[in-house]
C-alpha cells in the first residue's frame, strides 16, 4: 500500500495548474468535452483549455445560475460539460439549478468547484467553502469527489468525464504537497488504504490526506500504528471500507477541509452508527466561518494541522481503550 505514496511527501505544486493541464489532455482525448466558466477561468486555470480549444469554451459571465443551466442544455445535446466557478457559488448561488436539473433530472454535467475549503485564504470567508460537501451530500444522485494532489487531478478527471451522471469535484487553489506515486490508480467510489495499521484508522480527503500521512508517521514514532485511508469519494461513500476499518481498528478519525458537520466526518459518523459504532473524532472546521490570512496559518488556526490530527487520534485512542 505504501507504494502508493511518497516518503517523504513531495514538493508542493499547484493543483489548479495540474487541473488546467488535465483539462487540455482530456480535451485532446474527447471531443465531446466542453468547458464553461463564470468568468473565473484565470483563477481556476480552465483558461488553459480555452487557449487550446476556444470553440469548446464558453464564458457566460458572472452568472452562476446561467453557468449551470447552459451546461444543462449542452448536456442535453450530448456534450460533456465541465462547469467552473468557485466551490461556494455552486453550493449556494447555483444550488437550485444543481438540485433540479443535475440531481433530479439527471443532467450529465460535471461541476469543478475551485478554491475549495479555506484555500482562497486571503479573500476570506465570503470566498471560502466549508459547507459544500454537506450541501451536495444531502441531494440524491450526485457523485462527490475531493482531489488530494496534482496527480490525483490527472487520474480522476478522465473518470469524472466518463462517469454516468452529475459529478461535483473539489480543487484546491494553492500549491499542495505531492502525495502519490505513479502507482496511484484511484477509482470513483472506492476508498484507498494508503498506510496499514491496526490501532486506529484516519480517514481523510483532499489536502488533509497529506496531513493524515504526516500525522501517521509522527504517531508511529510513538508506537501508535495508524491506518490511513483516502476517502476521495464522499458520495457514494465506501461504507464497506469504513465498516471494515472500524471492525479492525475499533477507532476512527476523520480529517477534511470542511465543516465537521455533514461532510466526510458526517458521512462516516452515519455509517459507523448504523454498522459498527466505535469511537470517532472529527478533524475539520468547527461550526464557524474562518477569516482571511495565509493559507497554512489559517489551516493551523482552524484546527486542520498535522498536530490536530495527532491530538484527535490520541483522544480517540483514549476513548477506545477506556471502553
Amino acid at each position: 500500500m505504501e507504494s502508493l505514496i511518497l516518503n517523504p511527501l513531495g514538493a508542493a505544486t499547484s493543483m489548479r495548474k495540474a487541473y488546467g493541464e488535465a483539462l487540455v489532455e482530456l480535451g485532446h482525448k474527447r471531443d465531446d468535452v466542453v468547458v464553461l466558466s463564470a468568468d473565473v477561468q484565470s483563477s481556476d486555470f480552465s483558461y488553459m483549455f480555452e487557449a487550446v480549444f476556444p470553440s469548446r469554451f464558453f464564458n457566460v459571465g458572472i452568472a452562476e445560475p446561467a453557468l449551470v443551466d447552459v451546461a444543462v442544455g449542452l448536456a442535453n445535446g450530448g456534450k460533456i460539460p465541465i462547469a467552473n466557478t468557485f466551490a461556494f457559488l455552486f453550493a449556494t448561488r447555483a444550488l437550485e439549478m444543481v438540485r433540479t436539473h443535475l440531481c433530479y433530472a439527471g443532467a450529465n454535467v460535471k461541476l469543478a468547484g475551485a478554491y475549495a475549503g479555506l484555500s482562497d485564504s486571503f479573500d476570506g470567508p465570503t470566498h471560502q467553502t466549508v459547507a459544500d460537501l454537506a450541501i451536495f451530500r444531502s441531494l440524491p444522485n450526485i457523485t462527490i469527489v475531493v482531489l488530494a494532489d496534482g496527480l490525483a487531478v490527472k487520474r480522476f478527471l478522465p473518470q469524472i468525464a466518463a462517469w454516468k451522471g452529475p459529478v461535483y469535484f473539489r480543487v484546491c487553489r494553492n500549491d499542495v504537497p505531492a502525495v502519490f506515486t505513479e502507482d496511484y490508480a484511484p477509482e470513483i467510489g472506492k476508498g484507498i488504504t494508503l498506510i496499514e495499521g491496526e490501532d486506529v484508522t484516519i480517514i481523510a480527503c483532499g489536502i488533509m490526506v497529506a496531513r493524515a500521512i504526516e500525522a501517521a508517521r509522527k504517531l508511529s514514532t510513538l508506537n501508535i500504528h495508524a491506518r490511513v485511508v483516502e476517502m476521495h469519494t464522499i458520495k457514494p461513500l465506501d461504507s464497506d471500507l469504513v465498516t471494515r476499518c472500524a471492525k479492525e481498528t475499533r477507532a476512527i478519525v476523520t480529517a477534511e477541509e470542511h465543516s465537521i458537520i455533514g461532510g466526510l466526518g458526517g458521512a462516516v459518523s452515519e455509517c459507523l452508527s448504523e454498522n459498527c459504532p466505535v469511537p470517532l473524532e472529527r478533524v475539520g472546521v468547527q461550526d464557524t466561518f474562518a477569516e482571511c490570512g495565509p493559507y497554512l496559518e489559517l489551516l493551523e488556526k482552524y484546527g486542520l494541522g498535522v498536530d490536530a490530527i495527532v491530538t484527535a487520534t490520541e483522544r480517540v485512542l483514549a476513548r477506545k481503550n477506556s471502553s
Binding site: V60, G61, A66, D69, V70, V72, G73, G78, H101
Partner: protein
C-alpha cells in the same frame, strides 16, 4: 364527481415542418387547442389539483409547435437531432402532456393519471419519466439559459435543429432569465427562439401589479434579441411568427405572444385565482360547455 371521458382520439393529423398554412390547417389546429383545453380541464378536475389558467393560455402555441413546427419522432423521443422544446413554465404541464400524448409520445389514455401516485405524468415536468419532456421545470426561470446551452450544442455539431423555449410572463421576474438573455445574445444564437406566453396574470395578481414588466418588447430588444409580437391565440399569426423566426440571422428571437390566462372559459379569463384553482362540479360543467362551444366554432 363525474368526469366525462376524453373524446376518443385516433392518431392526430400532423402538418410537417414546411407545410403550407392552409385555412383547413389553421382551423384544425385551432379546434384541437380548444379540445386540449377540455382535456386539461378533465385532468385537473379529476385530480382536484393542477394549473388551468396558464395551460389554457398556451394551448394554441403548444399545438402549433408540436403538430407543425418541431421536427420530432414520437417513436424515438431521444432522436439526437430532434428540435428541442424547453417548457420552462412547468406548472402548465397538463397542456404539455396533453399535446405530447396526442402527438403520440405516450397513450392519451394515460392522461388521467396526471399527478397521481406512480404516474409518469408528474406534477411538474420530469424528463427521466415522461417521453417528449426535455427538461425539469417548475422552479421558474431556467428556459432561456438551458435553451442557450442546447443551441450551442446544436451549432457545434453543425446541426440545423432549433430550440424553442416557452416562458411565462411572471417567470420573467426571475434573474436567471436575464442571464440567459445575455448568453443568447453574446453567442448570436439564431437557432434559439423564446416564446413568452404573455397572459398578464401570475399567481397573486396581474404582472403589472406584482412586478411590472413593461415595456417588455423594448427590454428584449435592448438585450439584442429580435422581437416579434403576436396575438397568441391566433393560429395563423403563430405559424407566421414561427416562419419569420427562421428568417432571422445572427441573433436569437423572442416571440411575445399576447394571450389570455384561462382563455376560453369566461369566468376563468384574467382571474388570478384560476392560476391554480380547481373547479367545482358546476364550474366544471359550465367550463366544459364553453370549451366545447369553442371547439365547435372551428368545425365547419
Amino acid at each position: 364527481m363525474t368526469v366525462s371521458s376524453p373524446a376518443p382520439a385516433g392518431p392526430a393529423l400532423v402538418y410537417p415542418y414546411g407545410t403550407r398554412h392552409t385555412q383547413e390547417m389553421v382551423a384544425d389546429l385551432s379546434c384541437r387547442a380548444w379540445e386540449y383545453r377540455a382535456q386539461v380541464l378533465r385532468m385537473v378536475y379529476g385530480r382536484q389539483s393542477g394549473h388551468i389558467g396558464g395551460a389554457f393560455s398556451i394551448a394554441e402555441i403548444l399545438t402549433c409547435l408540436v403538430f407543425h413546427q418541431l421536427r420530432l419522432d414520437p417513436n424515438n423521443p431521444q432522436w439526437p437531432d430532434r428540435d428541442r422544446l424547453v417548457f420552462s413554465k412547468g406548472h402548465a404541464c397538463a397542456m404539455l402532456y396533453t399535446v405530447l400524448a396526442h402527438r403520440g409520445f405516450f397513450p392519451v389514455s394515460e392522461l388521467p393519471t396526471f399527478r397521481a401516485l406512480n404516474t409518469r405524468l408528474q406534477g411538474h415536468p420530469e424528463p427521466l419519466k415522461t417521453p417528449g419532456v426535455e427538461v425539469a421545470a417548475g422552479p421558474l426561470g431556467h428556459g432561456v439559459a438551458i435553451g442557450a446551452g442546447m443551441a450551442l450544442a446544436a451549432r457545434m455539431e453543425g446541426s440545423r435543429r432549433k430550440i424553442y423555449a416557452i416562458l411565462g410572463d411572471g417567470e420573467l421576474n426571475s434573474g436567471v432569465i436575464w442571464e440567459g438573455l445575455m448568453v443568447g445574445a453574446k453567442f448570436s444564437l439564431d437557432n434559439l427562439v423564446a416564446i413568452v406566453d404573455y397572459n398578464g396574470v401570475q399567481q397573486t395578481g396581474t404582472t403589472h401589479h406584482v412586478m411590472p414588466t413593461e415595456p417588455i418588447a423594448d427590454k428584449w430588444r435592448s438585450f439584442n434579441w429580435h422581437v416579434i409580437e403576436i396575438h397568441g391565440h391566433n393560429v395563423a399569426e403563430i405559424l407566421m411568427a414561427l416562419d419569420l423566426a427562421d428568417e432571422v440571422h445572427g441573433r436569437p428571437v423572442v416571440i411575445i405572444a399576447r394571450t389570455t390566462k384561462g382563455k376560453g372559459v369566461s369566468f376563468m379569463e384574467n382571474v388570478p385565482a384560476w392560476h391554480g384553482g380547481v373547479p367545482t362540479s358546476a364550474q366544471f360543467d359550465a367550463a366544459l360547455a364553453e370549451l366545447e362551444d369553442g371547439a365547435a366554432q372551428w368545425k365547419a
